[in-house]
Symmetry: C2
Subunit: 376 residues, 2 copies
């Protein structure tokens, strides 16, 4: 067979620039995590890998503060975790209530529609959070089978309080699904104590691992819903009843697990366990407060009220008269620092600054503030 | 918030054993690919990463011998590639014909059903391939909108001839979808010359990269089908019209790309381009023939007839009276060599030996044959 060489590029070696990643994610991975990625492969049914899977599951339970047996990394990015949660919990015709106050809750609603849900929403302006009362009123009005919300909204920097919500959902036979992409490993969160029935996250934020896996946890009420399904899950790749056959006891083949990414996740979770959750949450909080004080000294305002601000992701109001793209572009070009622009309704209105995982450090805050001062 | 330490494991450093991976995949990654995984992260909208995406797309076009603009790595494993192809090409009620002669065509049929297809099958015993005539007769009988088949069946070791099939599909306004998971980069294949409308693969076989990404390519007729859809794609994560907004010109955010895995894929494809496809195909063929000759000397028979045997994956008939699990278990425990057992209908009947990517080498064949001789 004659071979056509038109597309035969001959690029040079991989030489990525050294960036300080302070946008909404990915954040920089810890050097130990990057080193883990490069370890030699084993097979996905190798006894060594099966033991490593158990360790990852147990360490995820620690990070999420849950006993849920069904706690696994989905083989895709955070968005695949969101879709896995919704695809498995929603049957065609189910009522789903989405608490919509940012980009990622919009996405939850869109996914729920694709899986056949009747979607209702309760809405708040981007950057605000919901009061318990208004969520309970919406539950009573719509009587959904599932309430989906975002604990840590990466598009707005707001942290949704959860107190009292789980009890209200249970009383109404409604499951509570929380997006914890920007909170797992950085913001106080305890799935079992908070009464969250299902949650998903990503590896590239506060866990400090590259993007590519999506931790997911289903509690007993979510598993019961899964077992009672009458329609098959729309997605085969994300079907948890099949995935549980591999991650559970049977170890039956479903798909070839991404070995190297699981090496990285294990190392990232090992770092979480070494540091301890309290210390880690405190560190994220302390460095966020350093950042907020410094921003204030530069005359910059945060978008979110102080009491609902995420320590892991800060939205900064773009000062009047400034081109919103210029500051991120100059930080990248002149200082090798990435920050994010606004997304969706906040496009052009905010910058997004992440201090997550290994990047939540005083020296990182100082470097960013110094660069910002020069650029502004 | 009080933290519960019951799940706070303190595992030791990651120390995977050094395995020679000669099963159905993953195969060992080239050391250059593993080193690429450990390079520092950049953001998924960083100019450096956007240029790298273009390189990956172009190198995938070379490896697949296609001009298809829509040639991308899906952010999941090979199974996600299969689901992406089917989810985007199938609308509820569409007729899909599956040429079923192994485990992975069974899976294609199951996925097509989940996306609402009316599935018909034409069947052959596992390990055999289809004649053109019988596929054409099945096309005439069922008049499907899509014919799905497996070019390189990882469960059986058979390679499906493609000559004449594309023309027959075109005449009947039927799309041709091929699973090329175990052929891309190891077995002669040219999407455009072969007239394949859509194909998917995995990174962990002949490309010699860890598992975690699924190359996918859609030709003009598949793109036209995508554009004519009336129902939204069932999966949001795998919706190619959204993904094309990121991989195409617009670079609009869909999900956070797995940066490190794309580093690895670029390096793996760079190795393919350096070696050249003809040389790479010849190498896989030559080493397979070495293996087959050696197996024959050991008195072992191959499951598939010589003319339809894949050079990348060989199924070996388990000799009568042998415990089928014992030989793979001893090869792993005593020689650090992984080979695979049979899957589905061939469970207990065959072993599966992969010689893929960097593992397709004379010294690897010699090491395996020597170990097999000791174990048998």
């Amino acid at each position: 067979m004659p071979v056509d060489d038109r597309h035969r590029l001959r690029p040079g070696p991989l030489e990525p620039p050294r960036r300080l990643l302070l946008g909404p994610g990915p954040s920089n991975a810890d050097p130990r995590v990057l080193a883990a990625l490069a370890r030699p492969l084993v097979g996905h049914l190798d006894p060594y890998f099966l033991a490593l899977m158990d360790e990852i599951q147990e360490l995820l339970r620690y990070a999420w503060q849950t006993d849920n047996p069904l706690t696994v990394p989905i083989s895709g990015t955070g968005t695949a975790g969101m879709e896995a949660a919704i695809a498995n919990l929603v049957e065609p015709g189910d009522g789903v209530l989405v608490a919509q106050n940012g980009y990622f809750s919009l996405r939850q609603a869109e996914m729920a529609r694709r899986y056949g849900a009747r979607v209702a929403t309760v809405e708040r302006p981007w950057g605000e959070v919901f009061e318990l009362d208004e969520l309970v009123a919406a539950l009573d009005e719509h009587r959904p089978a599932l309430l989906a919300l975002v604990h840590a909204e990466t598009s707005t920097g707001a942290c949704q309080p959860l107190a009292g919500l789980a009890a209200a959902c249970r009383e109404r036979d409604c499951l509570l699904l929380a997006d914890t992409v920007t909170s797992l490993g950085g913001v106080p969160l305890a799935l079992d104590a908070d009464g969250i029935d299902a949650a998903y996250s990503g590896t590239q934020k506060c866990l400090g691992c590259p993007p590519g896996l999506a931790p997911l946890s289903f509690g007993p009420r979510a598993v019961e819903r899964l077992e009672r399904r009458t329609a098959p899950v729309g997605s085969w790749y994300l079907d948890l009843s099949l995935l549980a056959g591999y991650w559970g006891g049977g170890r039956s083949y479903h798909h070839t697990a991404p070995i190297s990414m699981n090496y990285g996740l294990r190392e990232a979770l090992r770092l979480v366990a070494e540091e301890g959750l309290e210390a880690r949450w405190r560190r994220h909080r302390d460095n966020a407060e350093r950042l907020w004080a410094g921003l204030s000294e530069l005359g910059l305002d945060c978008w979110v009220a102080a009491e609902h601000r995420l320590p892991t992701l800060t939205t900064v109001r773009v000062p009047d008269g400034l081109d919103p793209k210029q500051v991120p572009a100059r930080l990248l070009a002149e200082h090798d620092i990435e920050i994010g622009g606004g997304l969706g309704e906040l496009a052009g209105k905010v910058w997004r600054i992440g201090l997550m995982g290994t990047n939540s450090r005083p020296d990182v805050v100082a470097r960013l503030l110094a660069a910002l001062a020069r650029v502004l």
